[in-house]
Amino acid sequence: MNMAASEKRLILLWAVLVAITALSWGSAHNFAGPRWQGVVVILLALVKVRFVILDFMEVRHAPKALRLALEGWVVVISAALVGMLLFPQG
């Protein structure tokens, strides 16, 4: 079966997503880990989310406004979640 380059790229992306998942999962084995473990897990999750948006949902080649809005959301939610993790007192 002749697979297009674009399909190979999707499979490669999937492999990267699985690898990142494994990495996050690995970091969670220590239940009494340092605070930055949480930060890493959140950021890795949002990296995965960004790839899903750009390459699975194909927003990479979408009109700028849509891409900007979605990438903007990724940045804002990352900052908010990390912020709430690091500063639980508010």
Binding site: E7, W14, H61, P63
Partner: protein, 183 residues
């Protein structure tokens, strides 16, 4: 060359869901900050293996959907088997969830156990509803991609359905990280 994936309306739905789920995520962090000990202790009782399996199932299903949709657009050849494979992954997710929740209920853990589990069952429950809806959408894609208008008038609707499934995958990525992994 810029083109809008799917039709405009699907992005209204995506935006709405991202908005509400963002509220879910922030609510989780807010409650966690107020009850850190309870949340950490409850987190230990979560089945990490199921969570991981579910994440991998959804990532893989998204791959199938992305390839099938792209292949349809680029080569004009429908790939209903790929959409069906994605549905199978979805069924795996639902099955896993049933067992995982069954275990919890059996152990006496439920929605009213504590705030962690209230949010856990509510948010993953609403997500599960999205998965079920998504599987319905995938079934539609399986049929629609084989229709004669699949590469013309029907393509935009197929792309929209695919985008919804990727949303389901995306939301779980964050839920998995927050509930299962953040220590």
């Amino acid at each position: 060359m810029k083109r809008l994936p799917g039709e405009e309306g699907i992005w209204v739905l995506i935006a709405g869901d991202l908005l509400v789920f963002s509220l879910f995520f922030l609510t989780f962090m807010y409650y966690r900050a107020g009850e850190m000990a309870v949340f950490l202790a409850s987190q230990r009782t979560l089945s990490l293996g199921f969570g991981l399996a579910n994440t991998l199932l959804l990532l893989t299903s998204s791959l199938f959907v992305a390839i099938a949709t792209q292949r349809l657009r680029v080569t004009g050849k429908p790939a209903p088997k790929l959409y069906m494979a994605a549905i199978a992954c979805g069924l795996g997710f639902v099955g896993d969830k049933a067992v995982e929740w069954g275990d919890k209920f059996h152990a006496g853990i439920g929605f009213t156990t504590n705030d962690f589990y209230m949010l856990y069952f509510a948010f993953t429950g609403i997500h599960l509803f999205h998965v079920l809806l998504g599987m319905g959408v995938l079934s539609f894609l399986t049929i629609a991609c084989q229709r004669p208008n699949a590469t013309t008038r029907g393509l935009v609707l197929i792309e929209s359905g695919a985008i919804f499934w990727h949303l389901v995958d995306l939301l779980w990525i964050v839920l998995f990280a927050l509930f299962y992994l953040v220590r």
